[in-house]
Structures are given as structure tokens and as C-alpha cells.
Chain length 319, copies 2
């Protein structure tokens, strides 16, 4: 893989990705709740990627990457690092094509996510919960086994795949949307979302990030990506550090990134559970939490939010 700051994803790559992955992924529904709209003071449309294959939008990017590869690359074996959802997604996509797959996971990843990766038949390699340890473990595996890396977010095919959620969303919501929001961890989803949304014209794209993992926010505001950051947030899906390609995609296409507190994430997560009646993981609640803490610019607006995943450990709920 070529690790430079170039990023070659346009709406065309997202359209190709959508054709490529449609036979394998779900066209997830849009959820709405009038009661929730009244509480928040906006018209909200939630793209329910918690219902996606493997329980998260990550199935899109992993599927696009795997189905873009030739047979011999696949048979070498695939490797990635992931706090959980990308690992499960890659394990699932690799299994669809019969490719061996190893997933490096931080040893504080939720048990339910480790079990999910294992259930798709991948080999799991645990490491310390920081980016240096993850990337070191992956490098060693590539060196020893000649595996092919499918990076969880800093990879064009993954960014293009994640963008397909927004392509569907804009088709499914039959009214003009003012704002599209997605949480940002490594930036695969927000990057793909922004590229797709901006190509359709008049919609604001706003990222949301936990205060305790604000590396993307810092990079976006200062114009310089942080390569190292130690996150501390309940939103386990957002603990990754913004990638290089993702920094480019976000800098060029995102209108703003907002922060939110851990308390607001928990409150927003409860609201989604009780009002939409769906299981979402804490990362999903980050955009709604940002709206709740900074409501002014959102009042009366039509806002689409991507619910990223539903893989939550029911034994360690945050309330």
C-alpha cells in the first residue's frame, strides 16, 4: 500500500463502490421519531447502519476493499488493526472470498467485538491499546507473512465504501437535507460522507468527536494532522487517530467538526435507545450529543445522522 497524503476518492469511486458492494451489504433503513424531533427541535433522519452486515457501516469499506483485490493478493492473506468493527467487517468480507485474515485488536476492545471477529473465522492478535502498538503488530505480521494490509480508514477503497452510506441516505430521504453529520475517529466514514455529500451540492457536512478524542478537531482547526494522540472516551469506535488520506478528505470537504462531552454521549445514547428503539453503540450517539450541547445552529434544521454501529456489550452499559 502506498502511504502518502494523496487521496483519490471522488463521487465516481463511491458510485463504483456502491455497485461493487450492493450484492453483499444491506441497504439499511432511515429511522425517524417525531417524539425525538420534538425533544431536540430539529427534523432528524438516522441512517441505521447498526442494522448493517456485521453490525456496522464498516462492512461497506471492507467489502469494497476486498472485492477490489485480485485473487492472488487475497490468497496471500489479509491483515488489519481495529478496535472491533472494521476487524469484524474485514473478517466477514475476507470469508466471502475465502481469503485468510488476521486482525490486530487492542486488548481493551469490548469482548463482544473480539467474539464477533472470531465468529467470522479470522485469527486475532491482541496488542496494547495505542496506535503505535497496533501499527507495530501489523508491520511485523506483514514482514513475516507478506499479508496485504486493509487499513481500517487510511485507504481509498475503504473511504469510498464508507461513502456509499451517504449515497443511499440522500436517495432515501425524500426532502432536501440541510446538514449531514457523522462521528469521526480515523476519518473513513466522515471522509467518504463529505466527498459524497459535497458532490450533490447544497448540504453542510459536520463531523462530531468526543472531547476526550479530539485529534481530528485539533487537526481540522489548526490545519495540521496529529499523528499521535491518546484518546479517552466511552466511544470505543472513535479512539483511532485521524489518518492521512482522511485528513485530506476532511480538510477539503467538511464544513466543521464539533466536540461533545462524555455525559452528553451517554444521554444521547439513551435517547436513541428509548425513542428509536434501536441498539446503538456509544460512537453513534456522538453527533446527537454535539447537537444537544450546541443546539443553536441546528434548531429547525433537517439533519441526517449516520448511526454507525450496534455492537455494544450489554453487560457494561454506561448507566
Amino acid at each position: 500500500m502506498d502511504y502518502t497524503a494523496s487521496m483519490d476518492v471522488t463521487i465516481n469511486e463511491i458510485r463504483q463502490a456502491h455497485r461493487r458492494i450492493s450484492p453483499y451489504v444491506h441497504r439499511t433503513p432511515i429511522l425517524e421519531s417525531r417524539a425525538l424531533n420534538r425533544i431536540i427541535g430539529c427534523e432528524l433522519f438516522f441512517k441505521a447502519e447498526n442494522f448493517q452486515k456485521t453490525g456496522a457501516f464498516k462492512a461497506r469499506g471492507a467489502c469494497n476493499a476486498v472485492f477490489s483485490m485480485d485473487e492472488s493478493s487475497l490468497q496471500n492473506g489479509l491483515v488489519t488493526h481495529s478496535s472491533g468493527n472494521h476487524g469484524a467487517a474485514l473478517a466477514w468480507a475476507a470469508a466471502l472470498r475465502g481469503a485468510p485474515c488476521t486482525v490486530v485488536m487492542p486488548d481493551n476492545a469490548p469482548q463482544v467485538k473480539i467474539a464477533a471477529v472470531a465468529s467470522y473465522g479470522a485469527t486475532i492478535s491482541l496488542c496494547e491499546p495505542n496506535m503505535a502498538a497496533r501499527e507495530g503488530a501489523v508491520s511485523r505480521l506483514i514482514e513475516h507473512h507478506n499479508y496485504n494490509l486493509v487499513h481500517p480508514y487510511d485507504e481509498d477503497m475503504v473511504i469510498a465504501g464508507q461513502g456509499t452510506a451517504t449515497m443511499e441516505l440522500l436517495e432515501q430521504v425524500d426532502k432536501p437535507v440541510d446538514i449531514i453529520m457523522a462521528p469521526v475517529g480515523g476519518g473513513g466514514l466522515l471522509g467518504g460522507t463529505a466527498i459524497c455529500a459535497k458532490s450533490t451540492g447544497d448540504v453542510n457536512v459536520i463531523g462530531a468527536e468526543p472531547e476526550g478524542a479530539k485529534d481530528a478537531w485539533l487537526g481540522f482547526k489548526t490545519g495540521e494532522r496529529l499523528a499521535v494522540y491518546n484518546p479517552n472516551t466511552i466511544a470505543d469506535g472513535l479512539r483511532a487517530t485521524l489518518g492521512e488520506r482522511n485528513f485530506v478528505a476532511i480538510s477539503e470537504n467538511v464544513d466543521d467538526i464539533l466536540l461533545c462531552s462524555e455525559e452528553a454521549i451517554i444521554e444521547a445514547m439513551r435517547l436513541i435507545w428509548t425513542r428509536l428503539k434501536v441498539i446503538v453503540e456509544p460512537s453513534c450517539a456522538v453527533p446527537l450529543a454535539a447537537i444537544m450541547e450546541q443546539p443553536e445552529q441546528f434548531q429547525g434544521k433537517r439533519i441526517a445522522i449516520i448511526l454507525t454501529g450496534g455492537n455494544v456489550d450489554l453487560d457494561t452499559l454506561p448507566w
Copy 2:
């Protein structure tokens, strides 16, 4: 109201109900999970009434009853007793037509259900958690205020309304279903389900009931309805005693009623949460729990299950 054992609900009343309530209730989706199907060994289709207005199928029956009444009956005021979901549904339906509404609730009803009834503007009257106390409180309110009772289940219009979920389900599942299952408490849902399903022909209808609330099972097996029963189950929506009309509907149209343990209810509820990614209350899990404890007759079958509601208190989860 005329309290005899006559029951005049046919497929025609269910069709009328469907036309009457369709402008107000959701046509809820069918949920499927291949992973869950593999675990259980059947092909399962879940009608997601947890996404229904007021969070439960009860909106159907209450809406049908309220929209069948004339203006002067409505202005007298409505009353009912309910462990929660019918109370919220009647409060909601009454508010749609501007009718005053009082709901008698057992004082051990989940806080979230009491709050829901209040949120629709109804007056709440708490009583001891048994049928005699509920019915006594309702009788006194009718005597003093001349309110009109909308019984939570022992009422033709309510039974017909609940049957509309199955009418939709059979349209939505595009394969022939072998078995339809619904939980049974008072019997409004199971009665309406069975009348609707049997009019379509070749489908088995099986009720499911917690071992700790097995009055319907006892009545079904012995041919004699139990008028008094003290239930003890986590499935708070199923603590009511089988009604007279419901006993008739179920005796005539249901093929079997199966029991399940409290442990199986909790396990099935967790499976639905983790695999379907939706919030369901314990009552919803009762049919799946019965399948899991008596799997033989279900293996390889195509089974539709009505998920009854999603109003669960997140602070008192059973695990």
C-alpha cells in the same frame, strides 16, 4: 359494554380496522437475521411492533376502538386499566380525538410506562397490582364519572385492531409462513392474530406464555378460563388474566400454547437485542424463549413472531 362470552370478530372486522387505523399507525417493518436463524435453526420473521406508535402493538387496538366511537361517547371521557402499553396507546388515541382519558395502572408498572401514559395527557390512577384492584378502580370511575371503558383486551374492537399486525405481516413476508407466534397475556393480540391467520388458510398459530403467568395455557388445556390468577413474571406486559372474548377467540383459532421459563425469556431477550439490534421488552422474547426450550417442532420451519413492544426501563435490565 356487554360482558358476555360472545366474540364477533372475523377477518372482516380486522380488514375494517386496518382501513380505519392506517392513517394513524405505522406499517412496521419485518426484521430478519441470518445469524439468529443459524443459532435457532429456523427461518424467523419478526414484525417490529416495538417501532409502532407509543412503542407497542397496543396502538392498533386502542386506535380502532377510539375511532369507532361517536363524538358524544368520546366527550364523556374514556377509562381503562393497563400495566402500561394499552394505557399509553389509549391516552395517545384519545388525544388524537380530543377525548379525556383516565388510566388505572398497577403501582408496580415500570416507571417508563407510567411516564409514557402521562406524556400523552391522560390522568393516571394507581392501584394494587392485581386484576380485582384494577377492575374495582375502573368500576368506581365509571360509576362516578360515566366514563366509557376501553378494555385492554376483552373488547371486540381491540381484538380486531390487534389482528391488523398479522394482516400486514402476511402481506410483508413474501414466502409461505409455517407458524405464527404471539405472546399471550390478556389475549387481545393472540386472539386477533389467530382469527386473521386462520382466515388465510394454512398456517399454525401458537401462543407463548411465561410459566409464571400460565393462566391462558391452563384455560386452553382444560377448556375452562381462569378468572383469577396471580402472575409472577418479568414479562410485565403479560401479567393480565385471559379475557372472556379472548378465551373464545383463542379456543377456536389457536393450535397450541407453549410455556417458557424466566431464564429463557432473559436469554431470548438478549439474543434479540444483540442480533436484531432492537430494543424489545421482555414480553417480546416469550415466543422465541418457547422455541428455544422446545425446539423439536420448530426446526427448519418458517416462523413469524410479533415483537410486541419496546418500552423497557433501561435502569432495571434483567442482566
